[in-house]
């Protein structure tokens, strides 16, 4: 009989949101060595992170390999759990970082490549650019949703354990004598694998992000959907236009056909 561990949970999917991104600062900057290496103008950090107030990543992610540009010494950096999964470097140019994610052995999944293109210069609207250069911090990140399709039984158990949220707990001191210090969640909202309703920690647009809204939340999701709906409406108009054109062409065609027939 085959081992029970390799059995899979059918018709089921496990979803996890996480962030891939980088932050960049113009040198000199306090968190980078000074003076910077010759010709290096930017200090940056590329990372793979869980959502704030989300479940622990290391349940499914065991190590991450960052493949930097080949001109860096020791270009492929392997970061093992418990992380943090990030690489800090200095440089002068943007390039694509290949990120290889290695999953937990019980998941039975192969490692997967993702790519993140480093963003070092301010981007976005003029206002955003101004803010980024004023604060000397460029943050470019995107939300990724990984889907484990039909996970193995063991992996499913691990991914539905309460222990995933313990990393968010902080020690709350017991009041008075004899009361034990207990572990509670640091945030007011109960942590969950879903997107939070509002940005966590009151970071109104502070998360940066590629869009203008920034912080990852349901509010932002609705904004994106509204924007897509707008685009859809403009496409709808274009479709209407094409249809009208088609009608007019058809009419012309008929007229021409008549003209040829009468000739």
């Amino acid at each position: 009989m085959p081992a029970q561990t390799s059995k899979r949970v059918r018709n089921t999917q496990l979803r996890r949101h996480f962030l891939i991104g980088n932050e960049a600062h113009v040198l000199p900057h306090p968190s980078f060595p000074s003076p910077p290496p010759d010709g290096h103008t930017k200090g940056w950090k590329v990372y793979v992170r869980p959502l704030p107030n989300g479940p622990d990543m290391t349940t499914w992610l065991k190590k991450v390999q960052f493949k930097l540009h080949h001109t860096y010494t020791d270009a492929s950096r392997m970061i093992e759990a418990p992380g943090p999964f990030e690489v800090t470097e200095t440089g002068y140019g943007e390039f694509g970082v290949e990120i290889r994610l290695y999953f937990a052995p019980e998941s039975g999944e192969k490692a997967v490549y993702r790519e993140h293109y480093l963003v070092l210069a301010p981007y976005g609207s003029d206002e955003q650019k101004a803010r980024q250069s004023r604060e000397n911090a460029v943050v470019a990140e995107r939300l990724e949703t990984i889907e484990f399709n039909e996970p193995t039984l063991d992996f499913f158990r691990a991914m539905t354990g309460e222990e995933q949220f313990t990393w968010l707990k902080v020690v709350k001191k017991g009041k008075g004598k004899g009361k034990k210090a207990e572990m509670v969640f640091g945030s007011e909202v109960e942590p969950t694998a879903q997107l939070p309703e509002r940005p966590v920690g009151g970071l109104e647009g502070g998360g940066g992000g590629l869009g203008a809204g920034g912080a990852w939340s349901r509010v932002y999701e609705r904004q994106v959907v509204a924007q897509l709906a707008q685009s859809g409406a403009s496409l709808e108009q274009a479709l209407e236009h094409e249809k009208r054109e088609m009608d007019s062409r058809r009419k012309k065609m008929e007229e021409l056909g008549l003209a040829i027939a009468t000739k």
Binding site: M1, Q4, V9, L14, R157, E204, W216, Q223, I260
Partner: protein, 401 residues
């Protein structure tokens, strides 16, 4: 001054208590404007000519903080013509509404009372018009994409105002207020009855759940004796037989029944990996159809809230194998087989204002993006067709001339 035992004495004024210590000062009456009033009303006030050190501030400075103006969005004639026209409203009526709103400090009951027009309009109609204009102006000032969270919330709230629903709500509340006593009594009785039923329901449900759990104990996992069905017994037999064949001195004899001895491929040749478990699980499920419910397919019993908390999605059909990324569903449809087609798609998307990278691959976003891509493809097909037709038209024109 007086003790209780003594007879009350007539109180005498103490002279020193009421003596004025300061010297008399000069006061003058001045006309001072009232900043809160827009007509040039002057109030005559007595004011000390020489300001003392502990003089109170003049009243207009003290109450200045209460002179608040309500924030009213403004528009000019051009903006009105372009975005704010309404079949039911003329510009004069709209202007009048905004002026009334400003005058009444945004108190809607007062605005509805003061708003006088040749057309009778309810408060909800006024509100709907006002909120509609506010939302439009808001989105004109900052496009939806670059709104901050609070701005977007406000915009959403303004956008979502439904006059009919609001009116119905008020009617309901009013009716509720004017109920008779016997109706109130009846409702209380009914409510308590309902509560009783609900309470009972909880215990009933839990009992039922308990019973169900007893009936539906996990078959697949905690099975101490794995060879319960004839299929698995057959499988075991085949496995043992296959193992035996490899040995020099065979101790097992085939039964002679080919159905038992060669059930498909020999089991030893079957790879001992994840796939091997699947047909087995499937066959077991088919043999016990009554015992397995969809819920028990999950190894851990989870409530709906817990499912969402742990990011588990159940009941998906035709899942791809392995690991997938939701963001791929936002980037892959943009790439067609030919570069030319890819460029065309990109051009249309840029024209429609879709960013190159949609940073939030949630199901809702993916769904609307897929709808969008459907439209893009229809548009592409239409354009291709248009090109063909135009070509034909040109040929015919040449023919006709």
């Amino acid at each position: 001054m007086t003790s209780k035992t003594e007879a009350p004495q007539p109180r005498r004024w103490k002279k020193s208590q009421f003596r004025v210590h300061s010297r008399p000062t000069h006061w003058s009456a001045e006309d001072t404007p009232i900043p809160a009033r827009h007509d040039q009303l002057q109030a005559r006030r007595w004011r000390r000519a020489t300001q003392g050190p502990n003089d109170v501030a003049p009243p207009d400075a003290k109450f200045a903080k209460y002179n608040v103006e309500t924030e009213v969005p403004t528009y000019d004639a051009e903006a009105y013509e372009q975005h704010l026209t309404h079949a039911d409203w003329t510009k004069e009526d709209t202007d009048h509404l905004f002026a009334t709103y400003r005058d009444c400090n945004g108190k809607w009951p007062v605005v509805a009372d003061h708003y006088a027009s040749d057309r009778q309009r309810s408060m909800e109609e006024l509100k709907a018009r006002f909120y509609g204009i506010s939302a439009t102006l808001l989105s004109l000032r900052t496009p939806i994409t670059s709104m901050t969270g609070t701005e977007f919330d406000l915009y959403n709230a303004l956008e979502k105002f439904e006059p009919a629903k609001e009116a119905a709500r008020k009617r309901l509340a009013e009716g509720h207020m004017q109920r008779r006593q016997d109706e109130v009594d009846e409702e209380t009785v009914l409510l308590s009855e309902l509560q009783r039923i609900m309470l009972h329901q909880a215990t009933l449900d839990s009992e039922r759940e308990d019973l169900r759990r007893r009936l539906d104990h996990p078959q697949a996992n905690s099975n101490s004796y794995p060879y319960a069905t004839s299929q698995s017994l057959t499988q075991l037999w085949q496995q043992l037989l296959a193992a035996d064949r490899l040995k020099k001195n065979q101790r097992l004899r085939p039964t002679g029944n080919s159905a038992y001895d060669f059930g498909g491929t020999p089991t030893s040749a079957r790879p001992h990996n994840s796939n091997a478990g699947l047909p087995d699980a499937g066959s077991r499920r088919t043999t016990l159809p009554s015992a397995t419910t969809p819920q028990s397919a999950l190894p851990v019993d989870l409530s709906k809230a817990e499912l969402s908390r742990y990011g588990v999605v159940v009941g998906q059909d035709k899942l791809p194998s392995g690991v997938t990324f939701a963001s791929d569903r936002l980037s892959k449809p943009r790439v067609a087989k030919s570069t030319l087609q890819t460029d065309k798609i990109a051009a249309i998307l840029t024209h429609a204002g879709v960013p190159d990278l949609v940073p939030l691959p949630t199901p809702a976003v993916i769904e609307s993006f897929e709808a969008l891509m459907g439209k893009v493809h229809t548009l592409l097909d239409l354009r291709k067709f248009a090109e063909k037709e135009e070509q034909e038209l040109r040929v015919r024109l040449a023919e006709a001339s």
